[in-house]
């Protein structure tokens, strides 16, 4: 009974927040509501027994996306009071509803039948090199998907560079904020490292750990503790490209000398997965931090 009350309230709040995000009077209010929506969605994933998704949603969906949206808002021109987009509402609603219908049609059968995949993963888990099934899927059985995800992050960063945004004026950091940032950054480092380390045996991993490390980097940069981060510095380039490079090197080596593209030799399972995870975490952290506080390029006439 009490559990139904909690779940029902969560679901109702999610719907209300989703509507409020669209109906809010200004873009700033929409962004704040969207962050709240992401946090509640993370709580919902946790209630559904998917802590991996909950962590990813809290770190990336709510935290990082929220910061990116606020950054985009700072770059945007001031809103005009008249709602010129009103005419697009109904076509947008139609497209969304059609998409939702398609998704529901795809997902609905999953709820009724038992899928053979989880059982298969559990029987193969021994040979995967890690003891957490989600990590086994992400970095062994379906490592190809994760490699492509890393490439998506890289392309997002390269795409942002093409926009040549004007630098945002950062004010002198207030002493209290600087002091709190110095306290938070080591915490982000410890928790991010912990999430990465325990990813092999429990919920956690490169994306969640990387997002937390990125948060620490952003806090330190905004407080002026870190020097400016720019693509022109070679350590930054190395860090951003490290994850994809290590992953591709492993893929190429297994293809050339092993059983095939991203099929790890059994004896090397664990060290290879850990090496890829560490490299991916560093790259994700640096790339996400650059997306938020990276120095814009100088425009050459």
């Amino acid at each position: 009974m009490i559990e139904w009350l909690l779940d029902g309230t969560l679901a109702a709040l999610l719907l209300i927040l989703a509507i409020a995000v669209i109906r809010a009077s200004g873009l700033y209010a929409s962004v704040v509501l969207f962050i709240a929506f992401g946090l509640l969605l993370a709580l919902t994933w946790a209630r559904l027994g998917a802590p991996d998704l909950a962590l990813a949603e809290a770190a990336i969906g709510a935290g990082l996306t929220g910061v990116l949206l606020l950054g985009a808002l700072a770059h945007a021109r001031p809103e005009r009071p008249s709602n010129t987009l009103y005419g697009y509402r109904w076509p947008a609603a139609l497209v969304s509803m059609a998409l939702a219908a398609l998704l529901i049609r795809a997902v609905w059968p999953l709820a009724e039948t038992t899928q053979p995949l989880p059982a298969q993963v559990m029987t193969e888990l021994e040979a995967s090199g890690v003891s957490h099934p989600v990590t086994a899927v992400l970095l062994n059985f379906r490592a190809w998907d994760t490699l492509l995800e890393l490439l998506v992050v890289l392309f997002a960063f390269l795409g942002l560079r093409q926009l040549r945004l004007a630098p945002l004026a950062h004010t002198e950091p207030w002493p209290l904020l600087a002091a709190w940032g110095r306290l938070l950054a080591p915490l982000a480092l410890v928790i991010g490292g912990y999430l990465l380390w325990r990813g092999t045996s429990a919920p956690g991993g490169a994306f969640q750990g990387g997002a937390l490390l990125a948060a620490g980097l952003v806090v330190l940069r905004l407080n002026g503790v870190l020097p400016a981060l720019s693509w022109r510095q070679w350590p930054v380039r190395l860090g951003v490209l490290l994850g994809v490079t290590v992953f591709l090197a492993v893929a190429a080596l297994t293809h050339a000398f092993g059983a095939g593209w991203l099929t790890y030799p059994v004896a090397w399972n664990t060290p290879l997965i850990v090496a890829i995870e560490v490299a991916a975490t560093l790259s994700i952290a640096l790339t996400l931090a650059l997306l938020v506080v990276g120095e814009p390029e100088e425009v050459h006439p």
Partner: protein
């Protein structure tokens, strides 16, 4: 022995819930930023503190209590810092507006 501990936890949990609700109502109803900050920080510190105390009484292990206490400390610290920062922002904003009105 655990029976009375469970009973002891109820007043703590209910008091915590009261402070959360009072903080929320205050944030919605109070007239300006400073009084709203006053209301909402009570929820962070007292509300969460009482809930943590109530749950600690019921906890199975010392480790769980320690984790909850650490979370409380972190939330309290971030709440206090955010409150000060918002207050300062508001004050500087008001000072700017006054300066503009005088011109």
């Amino acid at each position: 022995m655990t029976e009375w501990l469970v009973w002891l936890s109820w007043p703590l949990l209910l008091a915590g819930a009261f402070f959360f609700i009072a903080g929320t109502v205050g944030m919605l109803r109070f007239p300006d930023v400073y009084t709203r900050l006053h209301a909402v920080t009570k929820a962070d510190t007292l509300g969460l503190g009482l809930v943590v105390a109530g749950l600690s009484v019921r906890a199975d292990s010392v480790q769980a209590v320690a984790v909850m206490l650490l979370i409380w400390l972190l939330v309290m610290g971030s709440g206090a810092t955010a409150c000060q920062l918002l207050g300062r922002y508001q004050r500087e904003h008001e000072a700017q507006q006054e300066g503009r009105d005088r011109d």
